[in-house]
């Protein structure tokens, strides 16, 4: 198999699924109410070696969840309320499977957590921007990742049956953190007082309804006899508050197709708009996005008819798939060279058309832009170095220029006839916020408010020298220097410590203030990743390998 996985003996991870192929979730849509039921098939883990007991999850379970959330937005846009509930008795969800975690390579664990975090952010994104309010209907215990999933919903209800509880038992039981947003969302989103949160996070068995309600860990609850009706009533209320079912017609999300070939050290994955060329021996890759070839959709009907084939959507879907492929199946590829090909005018025209249709209130245009934003944030979160290479024939304009600004550096050829250009569009003004809520332009020009004002007033093509002057790119070598400068930058980059680079890049990419999301990916994830490396968690007698084993863990008591 031609891939470079963290698990050399296992097949590559595929993110392609659909409800008829789900093993673990049931998606039922009834008008404006959707119900997502978690009923994990214990015998269908993503990789062999563990059973998915007690409705615990692995990456395979979360891939289905991410798929369901995405389909709800595109295939069922009329849905206003999404009930997330459990399908096995007494246990809503026991969180991430511990045996899976204990048996996974570090890189896999980190990427697993990052993906699950992104999925939970997508749930919040749907609630905040797509008028799809998620409610967690905890009809059994929600432990660890189970409660974290609930936290990503807008409302949490817990059954009052005398034993079902919410808990974050990671610290007392496993010696790690509730790392899928658990800690951050407690104090930042649900605004649980910090000392109350401290009590909660250290009591392995958690709290049942009465106390959970007092501590603001849940928003309500009912006994079993009233449960189904109460949840149904709440969902209907949300539908009514959300303006009811407006009869939006969804579009289908077919599987993406790409070819995959390998010649020697070079592997090529080619989709319609996105191709990935992997240079295995050099540990870098080229990711090329083709701009639109046909005219921008002129009406809502036309965009709807194009559906998943609309350039603005399909190109970003393919980009999203390529990024996940890189994360899980090509862990050694340390540097992504971002390229584009096409016409800057065409990209700007498509951006403008989508923006206009969104302003006119067309849901699909809104969803496409929200989706683009999420893919851009996934790009921000890549633990790979990224250089944008802006050459003649490229189309770094509007939404594609945002990609260059996700990169750690942007090199732009200063060609002798001045044809090489990027183009500023209107989307930089706030359409695509980064995780910290700022635009990438604001982040980029954080120390130059005046420059920001100048750039904000500009639209259209910008040549290399102007772009460099305005701070929109990193370097603009001329045609004599270009090859050498780019080559040296690449070779130098892939020679540095990958750990140091990841840390450095994540610290430099997000200038400006923090918010819940940035803390989650920065503070929480970073600490979790550190703990995941420590002997207290993963050593021979660490808490993770000892979990479920006959001996207690042995800790090094030194505080670091």
């Amino acid at each position: 198999m031609a891939h470079d996985s963290a698990h050399l003996d296992s097949p590559p991870v595929s993110f392609d699924t659909s409800p008829d192929r789900y093993h673990h979730w049931k998606l039922a849509v009834d008008g404006a109410v959707a119900t997502l039921t978690l009923q994990v098939d214990r015998d269908s883990p993503l990789r062999p070696g563990y059973e998915l007991k007690m409705n615990s999850y692995d990456l395979g379970v979360d891939i289905e969840l991410a798929d369901a959330i995405r389909r709800l937005r595109f295939e069922n846009p009329q849905v206003r309320a999404v009930v997330v509930t459990g399908g096995v008795p007494k246990m809503f969800c026991a969180g991430a499977n511990i045996k899976m975690l204990a048996g996974s390579a570090h890189a896999f664990k980190v990427n697993f957590c990052k993906f699950t975090n992104e999925t939970r952010c997508e749930i919040e994104d749907a609630t905040d921007h797509s008028n799809q309010r998620f409610i967690a209907a905890l009809n059994g215990t929600a432990a660890g990742g189970g409660y974290e999933l609930a936290e990503s919903c807008a409302e949490i209800y817990l059954i009052d049956d005398g034993f079902s509880a919410v808990s974050l038992p990671e610290v007392p039981l496993l010696g790690v953190l509730p790392g899928t947003g658990g800690l951050t969302r407690l104090v930042d989103k649900r605004k649980v007082r910090r000392d109350v949160a401290d009590l909660f996070c250290t009591k392995a068995e958690g709290f049942r309804l009465r106390d959970a309600l007092k501590m603001k860990l849940v928003d309500g609850g009912w006994p079993k006899s009233k449960w189904d009706q109460a949840i149904a009533d709440r969902a209907q209320k949300i539908v009514a508050d959300g303006g009811g079912n407006q009869g939006e017609q969804g579009i289908a999300l077919p599987s993406l197709k790409h070819t995959q070939t390998r010649e020697g050290e070079v592997e090529t994955l080619k989709g319609t708009y996105v191709s990935l060329q992997i240079f295995h021996d050099k540990r870098w890759c080229e990711l090329t996005i083709l701009g639109p070839e046909s005219a921008a959709p002129a009406s809502a009907a036309e965009l709807h008819a194009q559906g998943a084939a609309a350039w603005a959507f399909q190109a970003y879907r393919e980009l999203d798939a390529a990024l996940l492929d890189l994360r899980f199946n090509f862990p050694k590829i340390g540097l992504i060279l971002l390229k584009t090909k096409g016409s800057v005018e065409a990209v700007l025209a498509h951006d403008a058309a989508i923006t206009q249709l969104r302003a006119d209130g067309f849901w699909l245009a809104r969803e496409i832009q929200l989706f683009q934003s999420r893919v851009l944030r996934r790009l921000d979160n890549m633990s790979r170095s990224m250089f944008a290479l802006i050459e003649p024939g490229s189309c770094f304009a509007g939404t594609l220029l945002e990609i260059a600004w996700c990169a750690d550096r942007a090199y732009m050829l200063d060609d002798p006839d001045g044809q090489n250009a990027i183009a500023l569009g209107h989307v930089h003004a706030g359409t695509h916020a980064a995780h910290n809520g700022m635009t990438r332009l604001q982040i980029r020009l954080y120390g130059d408010p005046q420059g920001l004002t100048t750039v904000a007033a500009k639209t259209g093509a910008v040549d290399a020298q102007t772009a460099e002057k305005l701070g929109l790119i990193t370097r603009a070598p001329d045609d004599i220097d270009w090859d050498d400068e780019v080559r040296l930058a690449i070779e130098e980059r892939v020679s540095f410590s990958p750990d140091a680079l990841t840390g450095m890049e994540q610290n430099l990419r997000f200038a400006g203030p923090e918010n819940c999301d940035t803390k989650l990916f920065g503070r929480l994830t970073a600490w979790q990743n550190w703990i995941f490396q420590r002997p207290n968690a993963v050593g021979e007698r660490g808490a993770l390998p000892m979990y479920g084993h006959p001996q207690a863990p042995v800790f090094d008591w030194n505080r670091t």
Partner: protein, 471 residues
């Protein structure tokens, strides 16, 4: 601070008069307990005099004081067995350290869960059995169900004593919850499934006291090994009372079986039901049902909780100190037969993780002995019938066999095969309806219902004809 005269109301050997923390907790809890008892205890017999045994002290003479008592006036006391000041933690990772007199912080939650789970079964069984006295086959049996009930009540007190004394505010909350859950209630069921099953006929009652209380015996034995000394001493004292409950079940089933054999012989076509009795097959079906349900109570065959409890020194094996020489249970394995992908697979499990199964083995051995005696009793009456225990794989709802179906011999069968034979193996609604039809209360001293043999002897040296309950 008190409106309660502790010494006379609550016999105890825990120095209640001087323990302000315990007094405060009980002051709040005791009235609620009494209210619960009125609501959920034996229904309609609370004002009658019953010949009951009361523990009034922990020494040899005091634990079995017999007299007529109205149940709400029963003196539910708090007793621990004698303390051994030299006692050590005798197994697990803390072996050799002095036994804990206070709860170690790191095990507080775990211990509380163990105690709450044990404690929850006590009021549950009272709730399950509250109508039973009305259909008692004799005053002797009526008195026994009342005795069992008041002692289950006392066992609840014993667990509440531990919660109140050692677990602070959380312990007080849990003690309240023990009175709030209700057996079989859809909204607030008891924690363990077997304690939510209805127990409204006497055959079920005998099976319950035989099999479920015997689970209690083994759980209490393993807790009596605990490194947490107050739990150990509490469990030891409870065992003395639990023995009577098992006696009621064991001899009750034997009496039913003997009478069934007699009626089988008496009937021209060998049909005990035609004689107003219970046929041997029906008794066997009830045994199958309750034995299998009670096997579930021991928990999963492979269990990290069980390993943790043992490692921490909280819950040992049956007769850990006496029967074992090696007490770390490390570097040892136990073979467990799994049912995987349509075949049996023997898997070596780290011994500590298999502790539930180790305890279940001891339990099954204990049950086998009783069944052997019953078979002999039936044969002594002249009927060739072998009472059996079903395989541990049969009719399970927890653990490694719960996903599949097995016949009573333990052979794998399909869902359809199981469904086709279920009525031969497990009690049907018709069986239960039949039992209800023949179980009319017998309230005259010395008389006994037709479907059961009288006991071989009475209570506390009294005759069977003694007026055990003054109705």
């Amino acid at each position: 601070m008190s409106g309660i005269d502790y010494e006379s109301k609550i016999p105890n050997n825990v120095n209640l008069t001087d323990d302000r923390r315990l007094q405060r907790a009980l002051e709040h809890w005791q009235p609620r307990y009494l209210q619960w008892w009125q609501e959920m205890g034996p229904d309609g017999i609370q004002e009658k005099d019953v010949y009951l045994r009361t523990a009034i002290s922990a020494d040899k003479d005091g634990w079995a004081h017999f007299d007529y008592v109205k149940m709400p006036d029963y003196r539910w006391g708090i007793f621990l067995s004698e303390r051994d000041p030299e006692r050590k933690v005798n197994f697990g990772d803390h072996m050799g350290q002095p036994a804990w007199q206070e709860v170690p912080g790191e095990y507080r939650n775990t211990l509380r869960r163990i105690i709450v789970t044990q404690g929850d079964t006590e009021p549950a069984s009272v709730e399950q059995q509250r109508q039973l006295w009305k259909t008692a086959p004799s005053l002797y049996d009526m008195r026994n169900v009342c005795q069992v009930n008041v002692e289950e009540g006392r066992h609840l007190w014993a667990m509440v004593y531990l919660l109140h004394s050692y677990f602070g505010a959380e312990g007080r909350d849990e003690a309240e919850e023990l009175l709030a859950r209700r057996s079989g209630d859809a909204d607030k069921p008891r924690i363990l499934d077997a304690f939510n099953q209805p127990c409204n006929d006497w055959l079920s009652f005998y099976c319950f006291t035989m099999f479920a209380d015997r689970d209690g015996k083994f759980q209490l034995h393993s807790l009596s090994e605990s490194g947490f000394d107050p739990l150990s001493r509490t469990a030891k004292f409870m065992l003395t009372e639990e023995a009577h409950h098992m006696f009621v079940g064991d001899t009750g089933l034997e009496r039913v079986l003997r009478r069934s054999a007699q009626l089988t012989l008496a009937d021209p076509s060998g049909d005990a039901r035609a004689q107003g009795g219970i046929d041997l097959n029906t008794v066997q079906k009830f045994i199958n049902f309750w034995f299998s349900y009670c096997l579930d109570l021991f928990g999963s065959e492979i269990s990290s909780n069980a390993a943790d409890f043992f490692a921490a020194g909280l819950k040992g094996r049956f007769m850990e100190e006496k029967n074992y020489t090696e007490h770390t249970a490390l570097g040892q394995e136990k073979l467990v037969t799994l049912w995987k992908d349509g075949k049996f697979v023997d898997e070596s499990v780290a011994l500590r993780n298999a502790m539930n199964e180790v305890l279940r083995d001891d339990y099954i051995d204990d049950c086998v002995n009783a069944v052997r005696r019953w078979s002999k009793a039936v044969k002594d009456e002249g009927v060739d019938f072998e009472v059996t225990l079903p395989s541990r794989r049969f009719h399970r709802h927890q653990g490694i066999y719960s996903g599949a179906q097995f016949d009573p011999q333990g052979n794998p069968i399909s869902e359809a095969e199981f469904a086709a034979k279920a009525a031969d193996w497990l009690p049907t609604e018709d069986d239960k309806a039949y039992l209800r039809s023949i179980m009319q209360g017998v309230y005259e001293p010395g008389k006994v219902a037709n479907w059961i043999a009288p006991p071989r002897r009475g209570i506390n040296g009294q005759e069977f004809t003694y007026e055990y309950v003054k109705l």
